[in-house]
């Protein structure tokens, strides 16, 4: 008997034929594995310093050498993968959430709200977002840490003293703030075209409420392009996180991030280039992999674009 076909099975078939996309998928899968099982895979503690072995080049005990504080570079890369992945997933989830809600409402109901959302997305997409985030980060870092300190003094709960938490709140928040407009636009465009399909008219004729039509008929059919956008968005968010850490406005050291490893490596690269090459190469491979996967998914899920 012939297998019933559906969108996802067809897409998988097409994706399997695309060698570059498969390679990208493999790299991404490996990254997820490393991020998930990092603590068991890392050969050393990412913070422990071996002062007898500072800035040594790659060798048997330290595959990627050690940094200028004698910390194992491989372990820091593995923990950096956790940071990158956590930031990417959280930021993308928040951004997609905001984007889907605003885009769906704007596209479905139209009117003033629609115009406002579109004007706002136009605005945020027509300024250099990186500068904007950098400003947000720089100006909110102090108030947030002050606020957390007062929370700590009020409750004496040590969680408020966790710098990692403050970092992540700020990094997630500001990155999500600039990442949602493309999702909102995409969802709005989808909803606009789906809104006038016969099955929506049919649902209306049955007397279903707007909310049910939107949730059950319109949104599920708008998901295809969103999947492509999310896979590309995960890669972008990862790069963005490393960019902020590189500029010194991302996660605070000693939390390892590929970005701050690159900027640390940049200070000593003439003497120990491995400190620069290792994180830079990892970041390069991962971003290229995400892009190949994104392009492959795009071709697989939107076959009409391919002639």
């Amino acid at each position: 008997m012939e297998q019933p076909t559906n969108l996802w099975r067809d897409a998988w078939k097409r994706l399997r034929r695309n060698k570059l996309a498969l390679a990208g998928l493999a790299v991404v899968a490996f990254l997820v594995f490393v991020a998930a099982f990092g603590p068991w895979l890392a050969p050393h503690d990412y913070l422990s310093q071996n002062l007898d072995l500072r800035s040594v080049p790659p060798q048997a005990a330290h595959w990627f050498g050690t940094d200028d504080l004698g910390r194992d570079v491989l372990s820091r890369l593995i923990y950096g993968a956790r940071t990158a992945f956590l930031v990417a997933v959280a930021v993308t989830l928040i951004a997609v959430g905001i984007g889907v809600i605003l885009g769906a409402i704007a596209g479905f109901y139209g009117g003033t709200f629609d115009r406002f959302v579109m004007w706002f997305t136009d605005m945020t997409m027509s300024v250099p977002q990186l500068l904007l985030v950098v400003v947000i980060n720089a100006s909110l870092k102090q108030p947030i840490s002050t606020w957390m300190e007062t929370q700590y003094l009020a409750s004496l709960n040590p969680i408020w003293r966790n710098t990692m938490l403050a970092d992540f709140v700020l990094v997630f928040g500001s990155m999500a703030l600039i990442s949602w407009p493309p999702y909102a636009r995409l969802v709005r465009a989808q909803v606009l075209s789906i809104r006038s399909r016969p099955y929506v008219t049919a649902a209306r004729a049955l007397g279903l409420t707007n909310r049910i039509i939107l949730a059950r008929y319109v949104l599920p059919n708008a998901m295809g392009p969103l999947v492509v956008a999310v896979s590309a968005g995960l890669g972008t968010a990862m790069v963005l996180e490393s960019a902020f850490s590189f500029l010194g406005v991302g996660v605070t050291p000693p939390t390892p991030s590929w970005g701050n490893m690159i900027s640390d490596g940049l200070r000593v690269w003439t003497n120990s280039p491995h400190l620069l090459v290792a994180p830079a190469a990892v970041l390069a491979v991962v971003t290229v992999a995400f892009n190949f996967l994104g392009d492959g998914l795009n071709d697989a899920l939107n076959p009409k674009g391919q002639k």
Binding site: M123, S126, S139, G235, L266, T270, L276, A284, T287, N291
Partner: protein, 318 residues
């Protein structure tokens, strides 16, 4: 046409103002008291005397309501007065004037390099769609697009270090015609080249199916002439509209490239202002960056009817 330009300008001004307002509000409420920021930096100079500080605040107009302060900031900005840096006390405008030529030279040459490299390669890839040449060009473009400047820059430097003796590796600023410009220029152009290349390729593929291209071929017009005369012109229109996006990638990229290669431009000024929370400088640069991008978007909107007469018909008729 004139009313169209006027309407665009009228829409543009509030957008620029709004971006400034957002950035100013962030600095105003987020960064905290500028007087305290200054004194925290130089605690020995003036004893922390609340009365004295209050007097200074009054004098500097920092006790006025937010919107009044914002209005006076914008007023000063229009006259080219960006205030003074919190760290050095120098005029922000002077700092920007010193740094801008470096970034400007870099940015303009990068845009030129992008046009010269990306458009011909995009044409070739599009004309030979799905051939081996196409795959090689497109694959390279995807890779260039994906690798950020702060990764590509250092990796290229390390590669050069393997070939050249240490002191010969380019670092710092030597002007437009120095060898030191080559590497930063290449790295800064990576993303714009990838962007324009893909755009050109897609446009070529679309234009190639047009009737007039088939007619030209049927007439026996040589392939090169078809490419240059019938395909290139319509392709340029959508490519030019990407100017705003190129501007964004260049403004963003300059920050990293200047930091990596030690160029004394606006990007490095931004990063050092960030590490010192020097808000007048951060504000001014964010404003200039957004202004550049929004101005190039406006320019595209104004040029568009000239490039494609059909667009002005639609817009004029509305």
């Amino acid at each position: 046409m004139l009313t169209y330009i006027l309407r665009r300008l009228l829409l543009w001004v509030p957008s620029v103002l709004l971006v400034m307002l957002a950035v100013y509000a962030l600095a105003f409420y987020g960064a905290g008291d500028p007087i305290k920021l200054i004194f925290l930096r130089a605690p020995g100079d003036v004893a922390y005397d609340p009365v004295k500080i209050e007097a200074i605040r009054d004098q500097a107009g920092l006790n006025r309501p937010f919107l009044v302060q914002f209005a006076s900031y914008v007023g000063n900005l229009v006259q080219g007065n960006f205030g003074n840096s919190l760290t050095s006390g120098r005029s922000v405008w002077a700092m920007i004037k010193a740094a801008a030529p470096v970034s400007f030279t870099l940015g303009v040459t990068a845009i030129l390099l992008t046009a010269v490299i990306a458009i011909p390669l995009g044409m070739v890839a599009g004309l030979k769609q799905n051939s081996r040449t196409d795959y090689v060009i497109l694959g390279t473009a995807v890779a260039l697009w994906a690798i950020p400047a702060y990764v590509a820059g250092p990796l290229l430097m390390v590669l050069l270090l393997m070939v050249l003796p240490g002191e010969a590796v380019p670092y710092g600023w030597g002007g437009l015609f120095s060898v030191k410009l080559i590497l930063p220029l290449i790295v800064l152009s990576f993303q714009p080249i990838a962007l324009i290349l893909r755009q050109t390729r897609a446009a070529v593929i679309e234009v190639m199916t047009e009737d007039y291209v088939r007619t030209a071929r049927a007439k026996g017009v040589p392939e090169l002439v078809v490419a240059l005369r019938h395909i290139l012109r319509p392709v340029l229109t959508p490519v030019v509209t990407q100017l705003g996006l190129i501007m964004i990638t260049i403004v963003n990229g300059a920050m990293f490239v200047e930091l990596v290669f030690g160029l004394p431009g606006l990007g490095r000024l931004t990063v050092s202002a960030l590490t010192n929370s020097d808000f007048p400088v951060i504000l001014a640069i964010t404003f200039i960056g957004s202004f550049l991008v929004m101005a190039s978007n406006l320019l595209v909107d104004l040029l568009y009817p000239l490039l494609d007469p059909r667009a002005s018909d639609v817009k004029g008729g509305r």
